[in-house]
Amino acid sequence: MTVAHAPSYESAMSSYEPVIGLETHVELGTRTKMFCGCPTEFGAEPNTQICPVCLGLPGALPVANAAAIEATIRIGLALNCEIASWSRFARKNYFYPDMPKNFQTSQYDEPLCVNGYLDVVLDGETVRVEIERVHLEEDTGKSLHVGGSTGRIHGATHSLVDYNRAGIPLVEIVTKPVAGAGANAPQVAKAYVTELRDVIRALGVSDVRMEQGSMRCDVNTSLNRPGAQWGTRTETKNVNSLRSVERAVHSEIIRQAGLLDAGERIIQETRHFHEDTGQTTSGRSKEEATDYRYFPEPDLVPLAPDAAWVESLKATIPEPPSVRIRRLQEAWGLTDHEMSSIVNAGAVELITATVESGATVEAARKWWLGELARRANAQDVELEQLSITPAHVAELQALVDAGRINDKLARQALEGVLAGEGSPEQVVAARGLEVVSDSGALGAAVDAAIADNPDIAAKIRDGKLAAAGALVGAVMKSTKGQADAKTVRELILSKLS
């Protein structure tokens, strides 16, 4: 294959318009699997949460989990969907070792929820992303590929499969194609997945942790010349963080534009996203075109949610996160710009929790959008992935407010917390960071500074009080920044008056 020249994003956007589509899988946080009573605990020993139903042994009879059905209907309602009055499960037949049954129980032409939308706010503008469908299926097992150099499926000699995850309820949310976002398409994709995550988290039906795989995203991208028909799309899988959603669309736009510029065609294919390089590679294998031979699942009876049930579930839908953002902005007294920096940094929940732990909005913003954002950025992770909790941040600020540490020491304490040394209080104690404001303990350091700087001391004696700053600096230096500057200043002035 020829390697096309990669144009800049700006040049790609001057020639083409992107159309994107997102398929998001969310593992529900039910106690048991979709069709059997096996527990769903994360991280259990391999193949210990298994029964004849999830292994598909002959004679096993699946029965749908009521909590999973309710959770799916609630997700549909929160996404403004119509809830089907008649819905069925279907068998999706395929041979692949991630399902011991040789089929996955899913939904095909009769999903539980259809025709919804989710409004996302991007730089103050509301973008409506239309939802095609929300359906319920079961997750697959996890494979460990052995014998390859990097644990990848390519080059492996054999694979080892753990079916603990097989059968865990999985909700798939599919958007309609999103056109018209232009150069903002990558940000719209990220904003949509972020909002979707927040909506689902607010419903309390999943922990929606992308890094643990309980929320996974496939991103469809195509390009077309302005006014022309939509182009051929590719489906990028393995997009496992919010940042990656944006990067995957961005890099796929550049790659496709390069091919189109060179007069080549886009091949409809599955591509894999690589977190390390931010690029996608072809996932083509020699498999034939998929033919899943869906048919209604004969072991499960249809679902027919009646109006009263749906109404009662509607009453449990919380305030939409975007509405909540407006409310918080008002309560916190922030400008549009200030609030969107919080939203863009993914810090809404963190700041809310920090304020709930007793910090002021101002202090919470200062830490999360300042020092912590800088560190998250340097490590290339999301803020919430840092090993510090909102309660820690509030505690740190309380130590500053009480005068027990200053800003400089607070940053050192923060470093300790991030390094896993404990809470701010514990780090301050263990590292001995507390500000020394005891005049007895500081007296010696002040005396030494006066003795070392006779000229400055003389100036102060002559009434030039501004010169005291230099001596304060000397004391701070000798005490490694742990002296309380105000006390030091008072001591110097009283000794030299």
Binding site: C38, C51, S159, D291, L303
Partner: protein, 99 residues
């Protein structure tokens, strides 16, 4: 004439991972044709107002509460596996070497 072609039989056999010989393609095309023709007769009596049936029992919403039940003992899970390693099912290489 068969309503189902040898190619279709070969395609279905491939999807089902069945090795079918050239001779068998003809045999199964004929047999499947008999089955399909018989089933198609249902269409002669099914009017538009009769919805397709996927289930003979008129039941809906058969659900179970989200309460843990019993799992198989770990030894039993892997007992009928052709091969096991590290408490996992061992399966042959998934992708062809040249893939």
């Amino acid at each position: 004439m068969s309503t189902i072609s040898r190619d279709e039989v070969a395609h279905i056999a491939r999807l089902a991972r069945l090795a079918v010989t050239e001779e068998e393609l003809d045999v199964f095309a004929g047999q499947l044709d008999v089955i399909l023709t018989s089933v198609q007769r249902v269409g002669e009596v099914a009017a538009d107002e009769i919805p397709p049936t996927s289930h003979v029992v008129p039941l809906t919403n058969v659900l179970r509460p989200d309460e843990p039940g019993e799992c198989l003992a770990p030894g039993d899970v892997l007992r009928s596996a052709p091969a096991a390693e590290q408490n996992r099912f061992r399966v042959p290489r998934i992708l062809d070497e040249e893939a």
